[in-house]
Symmetry: C2
Subunit: 240 residues, 2 copies
Amino acid sequence: MVHHAPPPACGNCPIRHNAVCSECDADAMVVLERVKSYRVWPAGSRLASAGEPLEHFSSIVTGCATMSRTLEDGRRQTVGLLLPSDYIGRPGRRTSAYDVEAVTDVKLCRFERQTFERLVRDTPQIAARLLTMTLDELDAARDWAVVLGRLTARERVAAFLLSLARRDAASRGLAEPLAGTKLRLPLSREAIGDHLGLTIETTSRQFTRLRKEGVIAPTSTRDVVIPSLARLAAAASAET
Amino acid sequence: MVHHAPPPACGNCPIRHNAVCSECDADAMVVLERVKSYRVWPAGSRLASAGEPLEHFSSIVTGCATMSRTLEDGRRQTVGLLLPSDYIGRPGRRTSAYDVEAVTDVKLCRFERQTFERLVRDTPQIAARLLTMTLDELDAARDWAVVLGRLTARERVAAFLLSLARRDAASRGLAEPLAGTKLRLPLSREAIGDHLGLTIETTSRQFTRLRKEGVIAPTSTRDVVIPSLARLAAAASAET
DNA sequence: CGGTTCATTGAGCCACATCAAGAAGTGTGG
DNA sequence: CCACACTTCTTGATGTGGCTCAATGAACCG
């Protein structure tokens, strides 16, 4: 299996305008281009383990991964869904705080840890972008706390679909999802349950319920059409 | 009431070595000293409201505040407990994403928003410290997702007490809390419930239960002695 | 010392978990 | 193309942890 693919040029990288490099000028890009490397992980593989060394700072170029923690007795909670332009690892820490697993095949753009720490220190454009992204992630994590702490099972599933629809729209440069958006679910029912703090059975039942209510129109277990964004948002008891 | 207290010197500020300024050298401190201002808020007052303008970036000098969101039907979730050296607001955003309320009297060290954005841009020491603090907050928020998503009521209360004990120890420069630590709870039972995604009744019942089990030894409703940190950590089903 | 707020405790209920069975989808070899 | 195994999803039956409703108790305060 080919793990170390030849690095394509940054110019037509799909996450050029969203990733940690997005504020870099041409000079900075030359440096990045020189020190970056790519790595492809197959679906289901483990990219990092909680407490274990993590020697790279990586951005997701394509694919989807989850960040999770599993307790001794097997209870698992996903703390983050990683999509293109999201990053894995952090400057100033040599171990991963969570398990990271590829949900689909995942392509990473990586920097060796110390190299990246130097980049952050010496390139204000990267430091600024990394700060903005981290602040956005922090807001997202806090918003998710409301979902996990206070929403019902039905609301959680709706909130999950809403967040997927919004990220999909954002990645296409839209302010908000279009009516009739078709979503492909990257996660299995079990993985969705782990993300929502629910069991697989409850998650499945809420999908059925939302379908019967007409809030969603699944075309297969992994594909969902959103007839009305407003109705979905209402089901998620979202403010907006 | 005195809202605008005369700024004391940064040299003997209680959060000098933990706050966003902690990596600044003498030159940078001179600048901060010139543009900072203090403000004191009484217990119970609202420092910011979700969606409303927030014209300062502030650090908590003394006291305790909560960051929360309330749904239309009254359900409330606290997404962050703010203690000395924690910050409120973020560069690049003119509104607050959450409600912020003073739990005790709170003293803030503030910078006007645009002034602070300039400081972040021009002072690498501040930018670097802000990034580190934000990454730490992000990890804390993700850890909290495990608490809200997967722990039982008993485990949540234990996890809350454990996190308080650890922050108390850290603020005293200790690696971990001492055996027999006495904690003062800044929050009411209701506020603890809002933080843990529980009702006030369930929260109260778990305090009673942990007391009967000998995991905690309350001396009043607001004061708790931790006889054994290991037992508390076990009750929280914490990895460490 | 009565009024007010906050905390505790009890009784009953319900949303979600658990346990269990089938159904649908996916892949492999003949 | 089908047969079979295997995984994933759905649905049903039952149990239970935490919520709701309600009352009492404790602390604080004018």
